[in-house]
Symmetry: C2
Subunit: 384 residues, 2 copies
Amino acid sequence: MSSVFPHRPTPTLERLATPCLVLERGKLARNLIRMSAALSMRGVALRPHLKTAKCVEIARLAAAKPPGPITVSTLREAEYFAHHGWKDIFYAVGLGPGKLDRVVALLRAGVRLVTLVDHPDAAAAIAACAKREAVRFRTVIEIDCGEHRGGIAPGSAALVTIAQMLGANFAGVATHGGQSYGERTKEGFAQVAEAEVTALRTAALRLHAAGFTSEIRSLGSSPTALVGVDLAGVTELRAGVYMFGDAFQAGIGACSLNDIALSVLAEVIGRPAARPNEFLVDAGAFALSKDISTAALPAEQNAGYGWVCNLAGERLPGLRMTRVWQEHGLVVSTTPLPSDAFRIGDRVRILPNHACPTAAAHDRYFVVAGSNEIVGEWTRVNGW
Amino acid sequence: MSSVFPHRPTPTLERLATPCLVLERGKLARNLIRMSAALSMRGVALRPHLKTAKCVEIARLAAAKPPGPITVSTLREAEYFAHHGWKDIFYAVGLGPGKLDRVVALLRAGVRLVTLVDHPDAAAAIAACAKREAVRFRTVIEIDCGEHRGGIAPGSAALVTIAQMLGANFAGVATHGGQSYGERTKEGFAQVAEAEVTALRTAALRLHAAGFTSEIRSLGSSPTALVGVDLAGVTELRAGVYMFGDAFQAGIGACSLNDIALSVLAEVIGRPAARPNEFLVDAGAFALSKDISTAALPAEQNAGYGWVCNLAGERLPGLRMTRVWQEHGLVVSTTPLPSDAFRIGDRVRILPNHACPTAAAHDRYFVVAGSNEIVGEWTRVNGW
């Protein structure tokens, strides 16, 4: 399950090289259980999205029956999980013709890769490739349920056209209520969840009337996943960031601050004498990302570039990271800091705004359990 | 100098897996020559900062006499360049006690690593470590010339205290006028450059009066590097982002748009029928970063998440990336797009706001020359 530091005699948070990612195993497990328990009661399969975690150890914990169905955001993730034995993988980004070769290679290797399109030209490219390469794709049509990123409206004339062009490669419909990130209440999440379900049902019914059976009817986002809307007609739910949580998810009420499993370990490297409310740490824009999603939330939920915690992961009131440079983060306190705290060499943990880009800056997780004993070093698959 | 694609029969921009980094060798060379020529005329050594490039092939082109003096932003970079034969490396981020072990290993390996401190506690940790490990550090004191990130004021009482604590490990002074990024004119850059020089001279003179000779007197930032202020008393200049340029550097007048050597190659993966001014590409927040530095500039210089170019690297007027999700970027045109342009599968190149975080999302550069022939694949050293 994890490597055991042949090169580090005492694997503690006090000795890890900084900056690095710390993942709390207990909180991760709790987040995973909450989601899978909620879905198993509702009779819908969870297809966890590994876009945030990008890690086989976490996928094994998140999937109902590993290697059960998973979702990925890049073909590199698909190739990585396929290498680790996964067979049912949904690549949930519109497939461009430039990626067909790699998809064919995965299909030939026995991976039941689900791919996504929303345009007749993309469908035509898939159909031509399938014929030329004598493979069968498993392609779903992306439905726009209101976010207006990718996808076509469920009532769009193109829906049946695309299915016809896909022919034997057609496998179903999928939607993602990404507009849920703009909601702030359970009622708002429920409305978006209803929009997901309605769009999916409408599209599947129209396709059915045209002679196309949607084997896959897939939806989901972390904020909409846990609200109790009726999921009849849905076969699976995709969600990812719920595994870790973050300051933004907590700010909009999709988790609590105490659920956040991911943080960045940093060392105090500056303590300016002239500015008694401030210190500098060695985690900046690269270790945390420049994501400031919480800036859109009420002031008390604005984490700046991150909330500051002690080594035990407890948030320290009044402190937040207000500015970042490439390798520096500036932490500012609402009150002057005591001279015996946050000294050069002291360590803190920073809860990120948005777990996905913060994790993406790092090549591994240091996994802590109990009283911060380090129990694992899990690598990630970044890039494309 | 570069690998040659055993796995890709025709290495062209039309066939590279997207998203990926494209580096124009001609523009890179021109940017490097402009900087080194300007400094050689001024009698100051260039210590190129590899925080942006993080790549040995680029370091060899950027250094006056490779492996000449270089600057790095992480110890992982220092270790990587040391592995490739570099001996004179400045780690230009305040050194915390948690990194002393790795510094000692580099010093023992014969690397003349320059380290940076701005606090008596950090100096004390270095002096104790040097004594315990029987090594000699080469540590400079960070001077704040107005940015108020790290560093002490040149007139600060702590200056001589820190030098005394460092003792034989003291090697000089360094400053960085990072406030230059807030300037918009050559006059503004010149004022910051003067502030850098003045702060450095003041600190070096005070230390000299106290019996400490500053072997290293180091300053620099890309915007201040090319203005013609008198650098008497300065031994070296550090700059990094000038190698690539970016939309922000162009926006503040530190380079021109045509100097930008770095872009992200992306494929059109969405062309919404209902929104004729828009298309989606497969480069989003991860491939470009969420840096929107140009949002602080006048509207005509606001690149959103990036300027859009054709495959030849020519900017396409009226187009910019206005929104990103993890793996999607939304390009919006000021006028409706022709139906035969930006079709599914077409490719564009995106000029980033800020080269440093965009490059950091990728593990390699695809180097193009002349009419976009791909002549190299150069890897990067990311992380810490």
